[in-house]
């Protein structure tokens, strides 16, 4: 009998050792691939990555020159997306948080529709954007179409985060303000929105990050043109589309693609860093005079 017990104990030790090795190997592999990936992008992207790259226009289909007009187009697309998302998103978030009961019908209907929207794949947004903004509204391949399509994509997450931030504010403040006869508008403007500011900033940053990374929704809404756009109705190429085009359609476009990828990653890094910095400083100031 002791033999059997000792055998079982040994088997268990082997199994334990096996699991340990498996987990460490898995982690090592993941870490390894991650470092490989980053190193690859840094190495291939760094050579061409300098100030002139960020300013010059692309030449020779992007094999030479820079990404200046593309950065401008991207910035414009992001601006359109944010300009459309923030008012609608903030309005919906405030409505859901302050003016609907948690179980009530309007709240649930809007909430459900947004949840489903959050799950729709980006290519479908591209199809919709093309059918609705480009064709039905007649905006054609333009920065406006692309930005508005991105706004539709980003809205659910923005509303969800903003609403959560508003709901987190203490109900005591609302009661106290109501007892003082303050209007709902005053309460929102002076107390609730400033208190929810960290979440609102986070929501905004998430929106910007997601928009900047998006490719599939932009390919047939904002188009491929890599010249400097003259207006919002002009077609413009976003940086993610540029990376795609250079790597897939342009022979010898890889160095340009890598440098652009590096630029995009740096931009996202700055956005996320700014988000963290703003959120931290707003939270720290929470107890202090607003």
């Amino acid at each position: 009998m002791f033999e059997a017990v000792r055998e079982q104990a040994m088997l268990r030790v082997f199994r334990d050792r096996g699991v340990l090795i498996a987990i460490w190997s898995a982690a090592a592999m993941v870490a390894g691939v991650f470092i490989w990936l980053l190193a690859d992008i840094a190495m291939h992207g760094a050579p061409r990555f300098d100030l002139s790259f960020l300013i010059d226009a692309p030449g020779n289909s992007g094999r030479s020159g820079g990404i200046g007009p593309i950065l401008v187009s991207t910035a414009l697309i992001l601006t359109v997306a944010i300009a459309a998302t923030v008012p609608v998103g903030l309005g919906a978030a405030i409505f859901l948080s302050e003016f609907t009961r948690s179980g009530g019908l309007p709240g649930r209907a809007v909430g459900l529709s947004l949840d489903v929207l959050a799950g729709v794949p980006s290519i479908v947004f591209g199809l919709f954007g093309n059918a609705f903004f480009c064709i039905w509204l007649g905006l054609g391949f333009s920065i406006l179409s692309g930005g508005l399509t991105l706004a539709c994509m980003v809205l659910p997450v923005f509303i969800r985060v903003a609403e959560a931030g508003l709901r987190m504010t203490p109900g005591d403040w609302r009661n106290g303000a109501a007892a003082l006869g303050l209007s709902r508008l005053a309460v929102l403007r002076q107390i609730l929105l400033p208190a929810a500011a960290p979440s609102l900033v986070l929501a905004l940053m998430l929106g910007i990050g997601r928009s900047a990374s998006e490719t599939a929704a932009l390919i047939f809404t904002s188009g491929y043109v890599d010249r400097m756009p003259a207006s919002l109705l002009d077609s413009g190429r976003a940086i993610s589309v540029h990376i795609y085009d250079l790597s897939m359609n342009v022979a010898g476009g890889d160095p340009g693609a890598y440098a652009s990828a590096l630029a995009l990653i740096v931009f996202l890094f700055i956005i996320n860093g700014a988000a963290k910095w703003i959120t931290d400083s707003l939270t720290a100031r929470r107890i202090v005079t607003l």
């Binding site: 009661n175 106290g176 007892a179 006869g181 107890i287 005079t289």
Partner: protein
């Protein structure tokens, strides 16, 4: 008049007003019933609140005392599913009329909550913001009113040098006094207080209690309290509530001394003696 009750705290002197033995009703409640989602919380209350007096609403939890208080300044509007029946007249005006300007009502009838709830601003802004929202923008008037209400609650000597520091950095007792100051700054005639001392430590509780007592005559105060000794100390009138069936009812109302020393109803007598509730 009250002088120093604890080291470092002084209550300002209060002017005398109309004596309390000549009762003039400022709020008249008749046939008031409140229910939440169909379930009755309070049934058929008839009660008069007299000007310049402190009226205590006493009774065990769940009798509808807070509901009654909330109905007086239409705070029940904020509770989904809450229905109010009956009549409430404030200075002759029907409080429950749909056309009533509720913001103006709440300027006249202020409310203090159980948990102090200063806004996340500076002390000064906590007091100035309601004034600005109600249309008072003149700088001198604002700072005058701020100083006056802080003096009334005895905070002025403590905070005069740090009016721009955060209100949330004050102690619990100071925060509650600030909330009272915030209600006073609008110069109401009635103050509703829902267990204002229950969330405070005994020392702060004493200070706030003294403050409430000092408001007598200048303001009409309706206070919900579980602390029978406190009610006995500061109230002129007491209303005793109980839950005979599953809804709250007003059992007895009268001068405080009479309720506590010679209660007419046997339920009142038992509650006062501490046998029930």
């Amino acid at each position: 008049m009250n002088e120093t009750k604890a080291p470092g705290y002084t209550i300002a002197r209060v002017e005398q007003g109309p004596p309390c033995c000549d009762p003039v009703p400022v709020i008249e409640i008749a046939g008031l019933s409140i229910s939440y989602g169909g379930k009755a919380a309070l049934t058929d209350v008839k009660l008069d609140i007299y000007r310049g007096c402190i009226t205590a609403l006493i009774g065990p939890s769940g009798c509808g005392k807070t509901s009654l208080l909330s109905a007086l300044n239409r705070m029940t509007d904020l509770i989904p599913g809450c229905t109010v029946e009956g009549s409430i007249h404030f200075g002759g005006v029907d409080v429950r009329a749909p056309s009533l300007n509720v913001a103006a009502l709440r300027r006249q009838i202020g409310m203090i909550f159980q948990r102090p709830n200063p806004f996340p601003f500076s002390i000064r802004r906590n007091l100035e913001m309601p004034l600005r929202e109600h249309g008072i923008r003149n700088r001198t008037e604002l700072s005058d009113r701020v100083e006056r209400s802080l003096t009334d609650v005895g905070l002025w000597p403590e905070v005069r040098d740090r009016l721009d520091s955060p209100a949330l950095a004050l102690s619990g007792g100071q925060q509650q006094r600030l909330c009272i100051a915030r209600a006073l700054v609008l110069e109401p005639s009635v103050l509703l207080m829902d267990e204002p001392c229950s969330a405070l430590d005994p020392l702060s509780s004493g200070v706030v209690e003294d403050l409430i007592e000092s408001l007598r005559h200048r303001f009409t105060v309706v206070i919900v309290t579980h602390n029978l000794a406190q009610a006995r100390r500061i109230a002129n009138y007491a209303a005793f509530f109980w839950m005979p069936e599953r809804a709250g009812k007003l059992i007895e109302f009268g001068q405080c001394r009479q309720i506590f020393e010679t209660p007419a109803h046997r339920l009142t007598a038992s509650y006062i003696r501490g046998l029930r509730g």
